[in-house]
């Protein structure tokens, strides 16, 4: 053996030894959970790390939700700098697969995790599958709900005997409730994220769904009367703006602040803000509050929902070591099986065993809005859809002007149609 050969093997031995000595596998984790649910995820990560001390350590970072997050993921994967694991929206998986950003979760992977198709609802499983292959492990389903301030509604006489807002079954009824709140001196009967078209996509899509409308039929956008249905949806919201019933030009943090400070009596927001309310309430800093399924403004109940899932980025030019992969699989498996706690973040866990448990059935306010699971609608399954995807991007551009009374709904729909079909 030459000297250099000797040296080499010495180095290998040292590294190998060091590897054994500190076998702890550090897993780089990215998420976009900046809402109230982020606190819950932090806790889950802490618990995971504690349970796996010396074996696996999650090194977690929370980035800005939406476009910034997905832009970072995309560019980092292209240059081999993506994390080991990340949260991902199921709605965006078709786009991600087309871009080649995700690794497949193979049959062996599922077996290693002790999870499989049988553990998830068919729609959930389908959302992470493309051409029979899976690209993510579903964690939850997260719809939007109507948060309300019981004290303010009661004062305005708008609370029914079960403690829910009145007028939840029609456009006129709900508008009347808002008006009654306004007349009773509430500054913003409804707090809406009117400054952020990305956010409003959920509310508007729900309202389209309430009319049986669809975004995409046979590859065409807003065909037939779907355009009118979108215009109707925008019409209701802009009507509330014109009547001074809804907060205008309000960004996300401000909407939450308006609601929690009592300036807005109701708020349409994701279930992920449930922990914000629970925590404030526990500190004695919040009024009596509740959360229910969205009001039925049109023909039938419908609520937009998406799924958070875990996905593995496909790092260009970098192979994942078997040890790393095992660690990542363990994380996804553990998170899925321990997602009962995730339900305290308002979400509906994707793991069927968890939702079938009596503990979950008793959880509040989840139980109150659990009726909506029958009425959930999802993004169309196309590479154009998904959070921060092309459809999302185009539509949200026109939402802000429409919702704040700068633009006519019909005009907005025309422009949206034109741009979408040009994609």
């Amino acid at each position: 053996m030459t000297i250099s050969g000797l040296l080499k093997s010495a180095i290998v031995a040292t590294i190998g030894f060091a590897g054994v000595a500190r076998a702890e596998e550090t897993v780089v984790w990215w998420d976009f959970l900046g809402g109230g649910d982020g606190v819950r995820m932090k806790k889950l990560i802490e618990d995971f790390n504690a349970a796996h001390a010396g074996q696996i350590k999650i090194d977690a970072t929370t980035l800005e939700w939406g476009t910034p997050f997905y832009a970072k993921v995309q560019t980092s994967a292209a240059v081999g700098e993506a994390p080991d694991i990340m949260t991902y929206h199921a709605s965006r998986i078709p786009l991600a697969v087309q871009q080649g950003v995700l690794q497949e979760i193979t049959a062996e992977d599922w077996a290693a995790m002790g999870l499989g198709q049988g553990d998830f609802a068919p729609a959930t499983w389908d959302a992470v599958s493309i051409d029979g292959k899976q690209y993510a492990v579903p964690l939850d389903t997260h719809p939007i709900v109507l948060y309300y301030n019981k004290d303010l509604l009661e004062a305005a006489g708008m609370l029914d005997e079960t403690g829910k807002p009145k007028g939840m079954d029609s456009r006129e009824g709900f508008t009347a409730t808002l008006q009654a709140l306004k007349d009773n001196g509430v500054k913003f009967p409804l707090g809406s994220v009117t400054a952020d078209g990305n956010f409003m996509f959920r509310t508007i899509y729900s309202l389209v769904g309430q009319q049986n409308g669809e975004l995409m039929t046979d590859g065409e956008f807003l065909a037939g009367d779907n355009g009118d249905k979108l215009a109707n949806a925008l019409g209701v919201l802009s009507e509330w703006t014109t009547a001074g019933l809804q907060s205008t030009y309000t960004d996300y943090p401000a909407t939450v602040a308006l609601f929690t400070s009592g300036e807005a009596a109701m708020m349409i927001n994701g279930v992920w803000e449930v922990p914000t309310m629970t925590d404030l309430n526990a500190q004695g800093k919040l009024f009596n509050w509740g959360a229910v399924e969205l009001p039925v403004i049109f023909d039938k109940p419908a609520t937009y929902a998406d799924s958070h899932a875990f996905a593995l980025p496909l790092n260009q030019g970098k192979e994942m070591t078997p040890e790393k992969r095992a660690a990542v699989l363990e994380i996804m498996s553990w998170m899925s099986k321990n997602s009962l706690f995730w339900a305290t973040a308002g979400h509906i866990p994707a793991n069927g065993t968890v939702t079938a448990s009596p503990e979950y059935a008793a959880m509040e306010p989840n139980a109150t809005y659990s009726t909506l699971t029958a009425n959930m609608i999802f993004d169309p399954k196309t590479p154009l859809a998904g959070v921060a995807g092309p459809i999302f991007d185009v539509m949200s551009t026109y939402f802000v002007p429409t919702l704040n009374g700068e633009m006519d709904p019909a005009e907005a729909v025309e422009s949206i149609k034109e741009e979408l079909n040009a994609l």
Partner: protein, 293 residues
Amino acid sequence: MLTNRRKDALVAAVLVAPFLAIYLLVFVWPTIQMFGISFTDAPLIGSGEWVGLDNYARLDSDPRFRTAAWNTAYFVLLTVLPGTIIALLISLGVSRLKGRLQAAILALFFLPYILPVSVVYLIWDWVLNFQFGISMHILDLLGLERIPITKSREWFMPAVGIVTIWWTAGFSILLFLAGLRSIPVEIYEAAALDNAGRWTTFRRITWPLLWPVTSLVFTIQLIAQLKIFDQVYLFSQGGRPNDNMVLVYYVFQRAFQQDQGGRAAAVAVTLFVLVVVVSVLQFQLLRLAGGRK
């Protein structure tokens, strides 16, 4: 002598080499590459097929490119001349002060310039916050309607323009002050003897003698504001980026958010050419204007 020449050249080569290497690597090479990929359909990372002038042809009917070009021009209009005038007025005021007081007042005007853009953004975003910002409380006190400054199309560019002037004026003020200091006191004394009024003195003495500095400030501002990105990006977060689109932002969006390196490069080339043409034109114009004086 000849050997000396050769030795000089050799030494010079060594001295110049590090700079030249960096220059070629980060200026020349990327510029060539930028032109190259603008004729392809490449993603951000990786190569693509040759598509000829397609990427440029698409710009013509691309509404977002039009928005970006218009907003960039609008922003330049809002900031360059007003910024220069405001800086000039402030420097005239500051130059009257003496000693410690002058240093203190100058510091107040100059401090924003020293701050990173993200700090400027966080402070102003807070000041202008539609729900809780102090500017809204002031509007309330004045009995005026609140204005969603960073969220509405009409107010966004003017607001970012004002913030930009606030942020960068310090720099221009310093240049003007240096210019004012270099005007000999005797000239003013002579003017005072002639009983020249304040305005006459300014128009006859200060303005012409300050012209080189004014044109310098104007040039620097113009080139800088054509390349606007940071403030627009930051203030658009959680708002309406597509309405506030500017050229550099569009390059960023196409390349880094939509993974279309080729189309992004076409926009980048357009911006590149625009900046070069404007620089050359303006240089010539200012020389002419300066020559006439």
